[in-house]
Amino acid sequence: MTPPKKQLLLAEDDDLLASLLNFRLKKAGYDVLLASDGQQVKELLKNHIPDIIVSDIMMPYFSGIELIDFVRNELKSQVPVIIISSAGNEQNVLSAFELGANDFISKPVSPSELLVRVGRELNKN
């Protein structure tokens, strides 16, 4: 019997990148939930908390920083969160880490690197 797929929430407002990463992550065996903005993420998280969250920092309605705050302080969840940030966004990355982000990956994103980081965070837990 194959083990259940790990569920991953991918929050990315760039459709093309989201689609590409979604394809890669699905191919790697993850059950991917896609959200294109912060509100969608919030709705999804209220219903179900995935095994790991991969989120862009800059998103409409609800930024990645707010998302971490929401997960850690409102949902009281310790689900691993990996943030995707563009270069030159160090301050946001630091804020994210302060709020409880587990890891970060900078744009341009290497899908292979993302897979490695996701796997590592899941193994930690």
Binding site: D14, D15, L16, L17, S19, L20, N22, F23, R24, K27, K107, P108, V109, S110, P111, S112, E113
Partner: protein, 724 residues
């Protein structure tokens, strides 16, 4: 009524064809409608196009993902799907719009992904032969299309496009030119060489930065020897080459750089000077000295800076010459700083000192390592610190003596050989100060100590004088001793002569005050300098206050014990005349200063917490206040009197333990006698109250300096408490 006069020109005006107005109206309406229709159709087309593009993107994006992440090791189904998709995409690419959308997708993704996925994406772009569309763009007559074509080719790293793009490096249209320059440098490693060889137009700083960024991020990039372009006729190419030389630290270009120091362009000169500094080209020093006079001030400053950085003592005469001859302030300053850089402290600040300080400075004779004392200014018992600078070039006035005064860095911070002289001798102190302070030679009080002591003393005395004057003038003729006699250290002008009207007791007290200073001075008399240094500064700075309550008296007596036994300590007795008891009321001070409302409030408080002192204070107020306050005073007096009769309070000494915090243990007519005797005193009698006189005997087993501080600190503490 007079009829209205109609102007003739109106009567003669040609008739207006109303039908024309109608035609024009219809015409303009039709035009407006046509325009609206065009705008509407255009917008609709655009939105349709956008929707179509979005739909195409939705179809193509997963296909691209499949192509990007396809692996041959997949199962059969995947392989079949891949082949089908390939056929499908080939069909789609026959449509130009689809090709455009696909190109757009790939270019967007190229920005967002890296690593092997990006390599695959670039390969996919090439495999789908989308670059041919970009080549077509290069032949367009519109600059924005050419530019986008170049951008696409350079982003998708189409190596073959290099030869097609090269001609645009010197295009007259700056956007195309800049895009082509970037593409040329991006696409091939030799692109930078071609660009530097052929660039005819100016290269902006921003463009230079971008190009540097590109070549810096290039993998396996071996920078060419950029000195080859130092001979270019394009000054921007030379500048860029110099910057690249500096960035890649190509020190093989020294000769060319030295030649460029004589370049007619100032920017190139400055950049060459930067290179000279960077590579420490010592051969440049002679050239710099030669070219110095023919340059502008900015270049001169940079040259002097470079000489200061690279130069040795052989450059000193040149710099001295510049200092003497140069008229430009900034250049002269740079020359001085360069001179100081080569030989530290060759020139020390002198002109910037204030006039007074200048007068105090005496230039030492031109002998090496000679230290001269500088007399302190009159009435200033500040120890003189003489700083002497050895000099090889007397013309520069290198020997400067600086007195350690506030505002001038301490001697140890000054980068010169400093010698701290002994404190100002007694002769240097004015006669008046001698009288007031009586600081003997053997008391080497540090300037800092004096200043701190001054501050403490000043603060205490000001408080006391203020209070004393007030009481003296308003409350009681003999209430509090006038303290104007107290000497103010370092401020002789503030020292007032003795009050001729002082009573005998007061005069005696004055004498005792002097004795306090004598203790201060004599305290260190028998000590060596080292011993004095052992005394912690804190003990000198913080006076040990005397508490007159039972508990605190012990502390005070410990201090007294500490002082006792020092045979030469003179007797101290400060005798205060009895003062009215209401002075001891905690309300008196505040009451006499506040407004009517506060007085009324205070009276309520007096009733709540008051005792006999307050009773006396109220008696006093009966003669002072008037109106509503007087009425209330009478009322409170009556109530408080009856209260105290019902609950009599014991003497203050008895209640002192309960009233420690409020300081109410001092009672009427306290006579404080701080006594230091030559003889042994019975500890049991070290503190006793006899007829209102508190005798305190000191038996010091601590250092004299500490003792003096204890006495002084305790004395002022006593006075403060008394005043409170």
């Amino acid at each position: 009524m007079q009829a209205a006069i109609v102007p003739r020109y109106i009567l003669n005006a040609t008739s207006f064809h109303l039908e024309l107005v109608g035609y024009f109206t219809v015409g303009f309406t039709v035009i407006a409608l046509i325009l609206l229709l065009i705008v509407f159709l255009n917008r609709r087309t655009q939105s349709n196009k956008k929707r179509g593009t979005a739909a195409r993107k939705k179809i193509l994006a997963p296909m691209i993902s499949t192509f990007l992440f396809y692996e041959n090791e997949g199962n059969k189904e995947d392989n079949v799907e891949y082949v089908e998709m390939k056929i499908r995409i080939r069909e789609m690419l026959k449509d130009k719009d689809n090709r455009g959308v696909l190109t757009e997708i790939l270019m967007d993704l190229q920005k967002d992904i890296s690593g092997d996925a990006q390599d695959r994406l670039l390969q996919l772009y090439a495999d789908l032969e989308l670059h041919f569309d970009a080549f077509e763009k290069l032949s367009s007559w519109r600059w924005e299309i050419i530019s986008s074509g170049i951008l696409e080719l350079s982003r998708m790293k189409v190596d073959k496009a290099y030869t097609f793009i090269r001609p645009f490096v010197n295009d007259r249209r700056s956007v195309i030119r800049k895009q082509a320059q970037i593409a040329t440098v991006t696409l091939r490693k030799e692109g930078i060489n071609y660009f530097l060889d052929t660039a005819k137009y100016a290269i902006s700083e921003w463009q230079q930065l971008k190009l540097l960024d590109i070549i810096r991020e290039k993998e396996d990039f071996i920078p060419p020897s950029f000195r080859l372009w130092l001979t270019s006729g394009n000054k921007d190419v030379v500048l860029f080459a110099l910057r690249l030389i500096r960035y890649y630290k190509q020190s093989d270009a020294n000769n060319a750089i030295l030649r460029l120091l004589r370049h007619k362009n100032d920017q190139i000169k400055l950049e060459a000077l930067e290179c000279v500094r960077e590579f420490c080209v010592l051969e440049s020093l002679e050239i710099l000295k030669k070219i110095y006079p023919e340059n502008k001030a900015e270049i001169k400053r940079t040259i002097l800076d470079t000489i200061g950085f690279l130069g040795s003592e052989t450059e000193i005469p040149f710099l001295e010459g510049v200092i003497h001859e140069e008229k430009d302030f900034m250049v002269k300053s740079k020359a001085i700083s360069s001179l100081n850089e080569i030989k530290p402290d060759s020139i020390l600040p002198e002109d910037v000192l204030s006039k007074t300080e200048k007068e105090e400075l005496t230039v030492a004779p031109q002998q090496e390592d000679q230290v001269e004392k500088v007399d302190t200014q009159e009435n200033e018992p500040i120890p003189a610190v003489t700083v002497t600078q050895t000099s090889e070039t007397p013309s520069l006035e290198e020997e400067v003596l600086i007195e350690a005064v506030p505002g001038i860095p301490p001697a140890e911070e000054m980068p010169v050989a400093a010698t701290i002289e002994e404190p100002a001798s007694k002769e240097n102190i004015s006669a008046q100060d001698e009288t007031d302070l009586s600081i003997p030679d053997e008391l080497p009080i540090e300037e800092e100590d004096l200043e701190i002591f001054d501050l403490c003393l000043h603060e205490s005395l000001e408080e006391l004088i203020l209070e004393a004057r007030e009481y003296e003038g308003t409350l009681s003729p003999r209430g509090v001793l006038s303290l104007d006699f107290l000497p103010l250290v370092n401020e002789p002008q503030a020292v007032e002569p003795f009050d001729s009207e002082l009573s005998e007791d007061e005069c005696e007290a004055i004498m005792h005050m002097e004795t306090v200073y004598e203790i201060l001075e004599a305290g260190d008399g028998g000590k060596t300098e080292e011993e004095q240094e052992d005394v912690p500064l804190d003990s000198l700075l913080q006076p040990h206050g005397i508490a007159l309550k039972a508990e605190d008296e012990n502390t005070f007596l410990e201090d007294a014990e500490a002082i006792k036994g020092e045979n030469h300590i003179p007797e101290l007795e400060i005798d205060f005349s009895p003062e009215p008891a209401f002075h001891l009321s905690i309300f008196s001070d505040l009451f006499l200063r506040c407004d009517k409302d506060t007085k009324l409030m205070l009276l309520d408080e007096i009733l709540a917490v008051g005792d006999e002192k307050e009773l006396e204070f109220l008696d006093f107020l009966l003669g002072q206040e008037e109106g509503e306050v007087l009425e209330k005073v009478e009322c409170i007096r009556e109530k408080l009197g009856s209260l105290l009769e019902s609950f009599p309070v014991g003497t203050y000494c008895e209640s002192s333990e309960q009233d420690q915090s409020s300081g109410l243990s001092m009672h009427e007519g306290v006579r404080l006698a701080v006594t230091s005797t030559d003889t042994e005193v019975d500890p049991g009698h070290s503190a006793k109250e006899e007829e209102g006189l508190l005798h305190l005997n000191f038996e010091p087993d601590v250092s004299n300096e500490e003792s003096a501080e204890i006495v002084t600190g305790s004395f002022f503490s006593c006075i403060r408490r008394l005043m409170k």
